[in-house]
Symmetry: C2
Subunit: 272 residues, 2 copies
């Protein structure tokens, strides 16, 4: 039996979902059925949301959980009447913040997750285009404009990490793939050597790399465990010999990789 | 005078930041200086975080705000002694959830933002690779595997939207750029016509498009207001004539675009 969980918001509901999800991951072994109800910004939509939640309450043996980040009092009060455990993420804290900041909270929706301010938008788009253009060593001319250049063997997680850095933080992230050409010595490849203060290495467990590569090119030399072991050994050798900070991406999510990189390098985000 | 704001967590701190940021956007006109303190998972790191917050408290005229999602009680109690307003995002709600779920919350850190579970990781990476491969009409052979295909003129927001759908939701999103070749009639381009149930259009205010294109190719015909107006008119004509749902991306963020698309199409996320 799955317990229904609703994330209700007058905007995207992303905030409600992130916190609600974070809380629920502390309850292992329970099954949840997640439903987003975004853009609840009129009394009619609030009544609709209410009916949807109450229907789930009727059909389920478990009382629904409802995480809300509704700002408008009128709509919030409608949804709050539901036959679920109503957890108001905003209201709970806004009072304390108002007291501390000596000012009333705006009851204007849509401030969270910005209204696409021009500057923010441009920063993000520029960073995404930069990541796409400077991906995988195809173009090294842009490296002098990079905030960070990730190094690692094929399929060590460079591209998703660069894209996440760009999308979430507006960081200009390039990446350079280490290949057998780079493994002759222990020196840094010429293309990245001038930018050594901006380099960050990614490594990965060879067996995991082998599994990932098998998905892509089964039974190839490229995917063989032996090849993966040898490439990872050589890559880590370079990172150590050249004093490049690096991180094992094997068991962590993209969020954890990027947060750790920012934490270790002190790299400034361009978006907050 | 900026008020210091800290996001303290025994993991990435992303949950603390999303909710804290969402709350603070309700307080317009106040200045905040944001600092992340992630990975506070030992008493020593907690003492370090405490010192950092107290230093900011000494140096600022405003009391710091501290948003915490610490799970470990020992470390949390250390940071909670700080000279700031300590807002415990998890503890506040975990009690109510424990009661409702008839089970104790795990005091195990690092459940939020997953430990890179294999399935999740693969879904995300596959979706990112799909978006990269099926970007901008370069390759239309993958369209039959797409969950959604975005249509729009150059610089209407297709690529960032596809990448966000891939990274956050594991959705296989392709995009096809509408160009003057497609504007002869009002019919859908042949490349996308077989997939009409999966199409979604993006449009944008011509003046905004003009500004964006000017950044890229100043004083070109491509960027001229006249060209932008004519392309947008033709694109919207196709969307309307062919009954393709579409969205104006001019004043909304990437989060809002993607959430709205999911909401309007009912497209199922592959990641939760």
């Amino acid at each position: 039996m799955k317990r229904p969980v609703f994330y209700v918001s007058d905007r995207t509901g992303i905030t409600a979902e992130v916190l609600g999800h974070g809380l629920l991951t502390q309850f292992d072994g329970q099954n949840f059925e997640h439903t987003m109800i975004p853009f609840v910004d009129t009394p009619e939509k609030a009544e609709q949301a209410l009916r949807k939640i109450n229907l789930a309450a009727d059909q389920s043996e478990c009382r629904p959980l409802v995480f809300s980040t509704m700002v408008n009092v009128k709509e919030r009060n409608i949804v709050a009447r539901c036959n679920g455990l109503f957890i108001d993420l905003f209201e709970t804290f806004l009072g304390r913040l108002e007291q501390e900041l000596h000012t009333a909270a705006a009851t204007v929706i849509g401030r969270a997750h910005g209204v696409g301010e021009d500057h923010t938008y441009k920063t993000r788009i520029d960073a995404i285009n930069f990541a796409l253009k400077n991906d995988d060593g195809a173009n090294t001319a842009g490296y002098s404009d990079a905030d960070i250049i990730l190094l690692g063997v094929s399929r060590s997680g460079k591209t998703p990490t660069c894209l996440y850095l760009a999308l979430q933080y507006g960081i200009m992230a390039a990446n350079y793939p280490l290949t057998s050409d780079d493994f002759d010595g222990t020196r840094l490849p010429d293309a990245v050597n001038p930018f050594r203060t901006r380099l960050f290495g990614l490594t990965i467990d060879p067996l995991r790399l082998h599994n990932i590569r098998e998905e892509r090119l089964a039974e190839s030399k490229y995917a063989s465990l032996k090849q993966c072991q040898s490439e990872i050994r050589a890559a880590e050798h370079i990172f150590q010999a050249e004093n490049i900070p690096y991180l094992d991406t094997s068991n962590i999510s993209i969020e954890e990789i990027t947060t750790t990189i920012l934490h270790l390098t002190g790299l400034e985000r361009r978006l907050h």
